[in-house]
């Protein structure tokens, strides 16, 4: 068994974070982290804004750094545009990005969360992804230390991924995470477009996290993970962001 740490009081402790970093637990799930009413307001706002997606193919708002590994200028230009859009989306609700930063900050009392800039440019605050019926996200990892080497945020010791569920689908669309950390020799099991062969999860213990609207899920994204196929008619909509922890300087950065 490999289980989530379930939190119901919006408070996580540093020992909880350590448990997901070292793989003792699969994830932290903070139930009802963000008010459902605010999730609904954000969805309504998204619908009313007639936004152009950053990527038509994958339907997300906000650039994802890993899509710009050698195109820094383009990333930061799109990050600036996206941050302006996010300001509008969040103008009448409690800012979910700040709320996530706050809970992470409190779990690292001896660290400082910094708004990191590169050449005076901001990283994107978050990404909002809309996964439609039939969509699934292949087995993969997120590791900025490997693929984001041209960015300052790659100089970290540990990476956390935070996913806030803004809208759930009726069936499927669950996050499954496997107790297998990515290492460079797994690159020989890569799929062409994205991710890794499903063969890698054979005989590996995993945990499927069933999240509700308003739940925040925190994982160590270097463990292989996937999103199961969305089978309901409603889209799965999430807000995601990464945190990087620098042990020596006791600094924490966020980006997507």
């Amino acid at each position: 068994m490999w289980n989530s740490i379930i939190i119901t009081n919006n408070k996580i402790q540093n020992k909880d974070i350590k448990k997901i970093i070292n793989g003792k637990n699969s994830s932290i799930v903070i139930r009802n982290f963000y008010e459902k009413q605010n999730c609904r307001k954000i969805i309504n706002k998204l619908s009313s804004m007639n936004l152009k997606n950053d990527s038509k193919k994958f339907n997300h708002i906000g650039p994802f750094l890993m899509n710009y590994t050698t195109k820094k200028n383009e990333y930061f230009q799109n990050a600036e545009k996206a941050n302006n859009v996010f300001r509008k989306i969040f103008e009448n609700v409690e800012n979910p990005v700040n709320k996530i930063k706050s809970v992470i900050s409190k779990s690292f009392p001896d660290h400082t969360i910094l708004k990191i800039k590169e050449n005076k440019q901001d990283y994107a605050a978050c990404t909002i992804r809309r996964h439609v019926k039939g969509k699934e996200v292949n087995l993969h990892k997120d590791n900025v230390q490997y693929e984001g080497t041209e960015y300052s945020v790659s100089k970290i010791n540990n990476q956390l991924s935070c996913i806030l569920h803004l809208q759930e689908t009726e069936k499927g669309g669950n996050l499954s995470i496997y107790k297998k950390q990515w290492e460079r020799n797994l690159e020989k099991f890569r799929e062409i477009e994205f991710g890794y062969s499903n063969f890698l999860k054979n005989d590996i213990v995993g945990d499927t996290i069933k999240s509700k609207v308003g739940d925040l899920v925190i994982i160590n994204p270097n463990y292989l993970h996937e999103v199961t196929k969305i089978q309901g008619n409603s889209d799965r909509i999430t807000l995601g962001m990464f945190f990087g922890i620098q042990n020596k300087t006791k600094k924490i950065f966020s980006w997507v």
């Binding site: 050698t70 292949n138 690159e187 062409i192």
Partner: protein, 101 residues
């Protein structure tokens, strides 16, 4: 002497060994459907252009060590421009599918 072959074939695989400051050996794991040529399971690649995080575009700055860091074990996409008489593939080399969800 280079034999120009006007190909746009693509192969993917993992870098295994650095041969020089502009060439390496690769285990080929995937081939584009419709490639005009056949490719062996192991091919030698001479880099014509590069799009690899952590490696400058300026070839004169490349060393075997800098190629080692970004090529060995990495999953690479090679867009083949031509072939040398010795059989090395001359290709644009990039990281493939780092993200995209």
């Amino acid at each position: 002497m280079i034999e120009a072959k006007n190909m746009t074939d693509i192969i993917w695989g993992n870098g295994t060994k650095i041969i020089s400051t502009i060439s390496f050996e690769m285990n080929v794991t995937h081939r584009k459907d419709g490639n005009s040529d056949k490719y062996n399971d192991v091919e030698k690649i001479t880099i014509s252009d590069v799009d690899l995080p952590g490696l400058t575009d300026n070839k004169s700055e490349w060393t075997t060590e800098s190629l080692q860091k970004v090529i060995v074990n990495a999953f690479l996409k090679c867009e083949i421009n031509s072939k040398t008489q010795e059989g090395n593939l001359i290709a644009k080399v990039s990281h493939s599918g780092a993200a995209g969800y």
